[in-house]
Symmetry: C2
Subunit: 293 residues, 2 copies
C-alpha cells in the first residue's frame, strides 16, 4: 500500500496552496493538519473504485481525492477543539489548535472545508471532462459531508452528550459520522468513471456497510488493543461512559458484526455490473476487519 499512500500525498501537496502571501500562516496550518499521516482510506477507496469501474484518467479523480481528504481533515481539526473533544494530540503530534491557537484552529478547519470545494470544482477545468458527471460528484460530496451526512452525525453525537442512545440513534450516528464520507468516496469513484445509476446505488450500499464495520472495529479495538498497538489511549469509551455497539452488545457480537457488515459490503460489490478487477477494493475492505489500529 506504500506507493498508493505516496501517490495520494503527492496529490494532496499538488493541490495545497503555495505558502506565500499575507495569509501564509493559514496555508501552513492547513498543511500541518493535512500532512499528518493517516491511512488516507477515503481517497484510496475513491481512486480504487474509480479504476475498478473503468476510470482511466487519474487527473479527473485527483481533485476529488484531495477534496475528500481535506473534508475529513477539517472535521478532525474542529473535533479536536476545546469546545468539542478537547484533544491536544492526534497521531502522536500536537493538534492544529494547540500549535496555532484556537482562533486559527477554527479558521484552519473553515479554510480546509472551503478549499475542498474549491479543489473539487477544479475538475471542471480538466480537459475532456464530462461536466454532468463532475456536477453530480460535487452534489454527492456536499450532501455526504453536510447535515445529511457527516455533520448530521457529529451533531447527534454531540447532542447525546451524557444520555444513552438507543440502537437506532447509534446506527444513525455511525452511518453519518463514519459511513457518509466513505459513501462519497465510493460513489464519486463510480460517478466519475461513468458507472450507471444501479451500480452507484450498489456502491453506496457497499460503502455504508464498510463504514459501519470500520466504526464497530474501532469500538472493539478500544477494548481489546493496547495503547502501544493502537497509537492512542485505549478504553477511552469506557472512561467517557460512551455507549458503543461493542459495549451495548458485547465483544463477541461486535466482532461478529464487523465480519457480517464487511461480507455484506463485498456482496454489493459482487452484484455490480462491471468488468473491472474488484479484488483490490475487496482486499481493502477485508484488511479493515483485521487491522490492529
Amino acid at each position: 500500500m506504500y506507493s498508493r499512500i505516496e501517490n495520494i500525498e503527492r496529490v494532496l501537496k499538488e493541490y495545497l496552496p503555495e505558502k506565500s502571501g499575507y495569509q501564509k500562516l493559514i496555508f501552513e496550518a492547513m498543511e500541518y493538519a493535512l500532512m499528518a499521516g493517516g491511512k488516507r482510506l477515503r481517497p484510496m477507496f475513491m481512486h480504487e473504485v474509480y479504476k475498478m469501474c473503468g476510470g482511466m484518467d487519474d487527473k479527473l479523480i485527483e481533485p476529488f481525492m484531495a477534496a475528500i481528504e481535506m473534508i475529513h481533515t477539517y472535521s478532525l481539526v474542529h473535533d479536536d477543539l476545546p469546545a468539542m473533544d478537547d484533544d491536544d494530540y492526534r497521531r502522536g503530534r500536537k493538534t492544529t489548535h494547540v500549535v496555532y491557537g484556537e482562533a486559527m484552529g477554527i479558521l484552519a478547519g473553515d479554510a480546509l472545508l472551503n478549499y475542498a470545494y474549491e479543489t473539487a470544482a477544479k475538475a471542471f477545468d480538466i480537459k475532456d471532462c464530462d461536466a454532468k458527471r463532475v456536477a453530480l460528484a460535487l452534489q454527492v460530496l456536499a450532501k455526504k459531508a453536510g447535515v445529511y451526512g457527516m455533520v448530521g452525525g457529529q451533531v447527534v453525537d454531540v447532542d447525546m452528550n451524557g444520555s444513552v442512545p438507543d440502537m437506532d440513534t447509534l446506527m444513525f450516528i455511525y452511518t453519518c459520522k463514519t459511513s457518509a464520507l466513505l459513501e462519497a468516496s465510493f460513489m464519486i469513484g463510480g460517478i466519475l468513471a461513468g458507472a450507471d445509476e444501479e451500480d452507484i446505488v450498489l456502491l453506496e450500499n457497499a460503502s455504508r456497510n464498510v463504514g459501519i464495520a470500520f466504526q464497530i472495529q474501532d469500538d472493539v479495538l478500544d477494548i481489546t488493543s493496547t495503547t502501544e498497538e493502537l497509537g492512542k489511549p485505549v478504553n477511552s469509551d469506557a472512561k467517557n461512559e460512551k455507549v458503543t455497539f461493542a459495549s451495548y452488545y458485547g465483544l463477541d457480537k461486535a466482532k461478529e458484526a464487523v465480519m457480517n457488515y464487511s461480507m455484506e459490503a463485498e456482496k454489493y460489490i459482487d452484484d455490480m455490473n462491471i468488468s473491472g478487477d474488484t479484488s483490490f477494493v475487496k482486499k481493502m475492505i477485508n484488511d479493515l476487519i483485521f487491522r490492529k489500529n
Copy 2:
C-alpha cells in the same frame, strides 16, 4: 426595498432543510442564525446584477442567492465564538453559540458552509441550465469565500491581533474580509446571466470598490454614530485599539474615500457593455454611502 428582502427571505426558507429527523437541532440552529434579519446585501446585489445583465429565470440564481447568504452567516457564527470575537449579541439577539452551546455553534457554522455548497450545486438540476456557467459560478463562490477571499482576510485580521497593520495589509484585510463575498455576488450574477468575460472583470472591480467603501463607512460610523442609531456599541475600534482606515487617515479623509471608492465602483458599472437598466444597482451602491447603520 421591503419586497426585495421579503423575496430573499422566502428563498432562504425554501432552501433551508426541513426541521425533522435525528439532527433536528442543527436545522434549528441553522435557521436561527440565518433568519436573524440583516440587510441581505449580498443576495440582493447578486439578484439585481443578474437582472441588470439580462438574467431572466430567477430559479437559476436563487440557489446561489441562498448560498452566498449562508456563507456570510457561517462566517458571522464562527466570528462570534469565544475563541474569536467572543460576542454574545448580534443585531439585538443572542448569538448562535450562546443559545445552542459552543460545540453546536462550531457545528452550525460548519453545517451552513457545507450546506451553502450543497444548495449552490442544486442549480445544476434547474431545467435548461447552462452547466458551464453554473460550474464557473461555483468556482468563483469557493474562491471568494476561501483562503484567497474571505477566510484569507479573517486569518490576517486575527493574526494582526495587537500589532499595527500597515496600509497595504489593512487594504488586503478589507478587500478579502469585506469585498470578496460582494465580488462573488456581482460576478455570479453576471456569470449566470451570460455576461461576457470583460464584463465579469468590470463587475469584479466594481464590487471590490463597493466592499472597500462599505468597510470604511463602517469605520466612520463606529466613530460618528450613536449606539441607538447603529444598533450596536460605537467606538469599539478605539476601545479595542484597532487600527482602521478612519483612525489611520482621520475622519475627513475616510469620508472622502467612501465617496471615491463608490464613484469608482459606479464608473466600472457604466463601462459595461450591457443594455440592461443599471440604475437600481447604482442606487444600492449610493445608499451604502449615506447609510446610518
